[in-house]
């Protein structure tokens, strides 16, 4: 509980809480309809009425950022879930079975780690089509390799523990040992890593939506907002820099809290 006294950690938690509220109940935080254009209020600078200013169609940027949280954060969270589940299953099997199977699986995991995550995600997106789901799948698959590696090393460590030996001697079957003994003990490092991975996933997802591979235009995904503001960077730099800064702040908050979860202080 020493964590609670650190200002960075508390600030991180507050930012994450706001982001979660924005994803689940955006109407509580938004001040305008994110899709409504007011023709007379185009490209306005930030003011009391429009906190982040307005875009080229006269839409309130602040409300669009708030409504964008759901798409951006849910894709990123889903990506982490895909990475953890795929990685954990592969690592669990590889570490528990061992021998030649382990060797072959791990060589493919090496390659999964070697191919840059962005490129892997691009292959998936190009094959499956654009949208938040295929983004999540692509980014998650890119992260699965590292999860598999961590999971495997945990399994190998736990496999030789006395309580596993004892269970085996008592005649407990392999699947039961995996679920009852190995999985709960291997979970902590994997969860810590998943928390850190969330920051990376938010960055990857927003990069891919920036490139135009997310939900189609009116959707206010964060990366797409930055991309839409790009045309006005000479005259209204805030239009793309403010949503970009929001992404940065959320990623920093997630990373800060994740490091605390991992006990890496």
């Amino acid at each position: 509980m020493t964590n609670l006294r650190k200002p960075g950690f508390v600030l991180g938690l507050i930012i994450i809480a706001v982001a979660i509220v924005a994803s689940l109940a955006p109407q509580l935080l938004a001040t305008h309809d994110p899709f409504e254009s007011v023709a007379t209020d185009r490209l306005l600078p930030p003011s009391a009425q429009y906190l982040f200013g307005t875009d080229n169609l006269g839409r309130d940027l602040y409300s669009r950022v708030i409504y964008g949280a759901a798409l951006s954060l849910l894709s990123a969270s889903l990506a982490v879930v895909v990475g953890v589940v795929v990685g954990a299953v592969v690592g669990l099997i590889s570490g528990f079975v061992g021998g030649r199977t382990d060797f072959i699986i791990m060589r493919f995991v090496d390659v999964l780690i070697a191919v840059p995550g962005v490129l892997l995600a691009l292959i998936v997106v190009a094959s499956l089509g654009f949208g938040p789901l295929s983004l999540a799948l692509g980014v998650g698959l890119g992260a699965a390799g590292s999860f598999a590696r961590v999971m495997r090393s945990q399994v190998i460590r736990i496999r030789s523990e006395e309580y596993v030996e004892a269970a085996r001697t008592l005649g407990v079957r392999a699947p039961a040992i995996l679920v009852q003994h190995v999985l709960p003990n291997a979970a902590r490092p994997v969860i810590a890593m998943a928390a850190l991975e969330l920051g990376t996933a938010i960055l990857s997802v927003s990069a891919l939506t920036f490139l135009g591979f997310g939900a189609p235009p009116p959707a206010p995904e964060w990366g797409a907002l930055v991309s839409a503001g790009r045309d006005y960077v000479a005259t209204n730099p805030g239009l793309s820099i403010i949503p970009g800064a929001v992404i940065l702040v959320v990623v920093l908050a997630v990373n800060r809290v994740a490091r605390a979860i991992g006990g890496d202080e």
Partner: protein, 331 residues
Amino acid sequence: MTQVKAWAGYLLPKLGQFLFVVVATYTLVFVLVHFLPGDPLIAALAAKGGASTVIDPAELDALRVQYGLDGTLWQQYFGHLIAAAQGDLGISIATGVPVTEMIGRAFPFSVQIASLALLFGVTSAVLITFLAYAAPWPWLRQLLLQIPPFGIAVPAFLSGLLLISVFAFTLGWLPSAGARSFDAAILPAITLALPVGALFFQVFSSAVLEAQNSPYVFTAVAKGVPPRRIFTKHLLRNALLPSITILGLLIGYLAGGTAVVETVFSRDGIGRMTVNAVLARDINVIQGVVLVVGAIYALVNLLVDVAYGFIDPRTRIGGGVPSRARLGAKK
């Protein structure tokens, strides 16, 4: 004779590893493309001609032959592998140009910013480590050590747009787009250097920390050698060596990063070409790019291994160096 034998025993497995990584990358991409739902050719044609494109079956078959998407999966797998080994990566579905030619044309632009970014990133990582090492006050040290984690969290499009907005539009010092002059490479290279430098910093600074606790540094401090000299003579040398093993990983980061950076700065290059290929659902180009990047990654790792064998003879004569911060194939 024993010398030759030792080298052969050291290099042959590395060479095998190199070939394995290339073939496995190809296999991974092939599996993803062919086992995810959807027909790549139909998707690409729809992207080209609009969603309502109707193609008659005979024509579709002819197109399949043209783009190398005909035959059984095994025929395709081995056919493309053999072709790729001969330098033929197929034909782009969107443009009809051979993929090898497209990559060859875009490559120099990306190499220009990537090598510049590597230079910027590594130099600033070493500089920050040195400043943190020599910092007289703990708060300054803490502040300096906070910079690299920050560098990893900044989205590349944000840092790129900030640089454009400040240095191109407000100050007017450097161009905001294009790839024709050397000036135009500076801002993209800085953008790309941020995450790469931060990644290098993580490995380098922990190697410095490790070397700092070694007996030779203790001796040097006891002798009264000034800190700057200890850093350059003892720490830099011993920490830089293990750090070069992550070069391959950095190359991978650079390759992935060019997609965003080249789009932000409207530059030609591998990254922008890949983005356009994804927009056109042009699977042949994407496959080619990933294979080339995978091959470069494996090649850099091979070269690092060979260089290591020269620099540190212990790696050659069995056993190997225990602490290697590399993320490559290792049991």
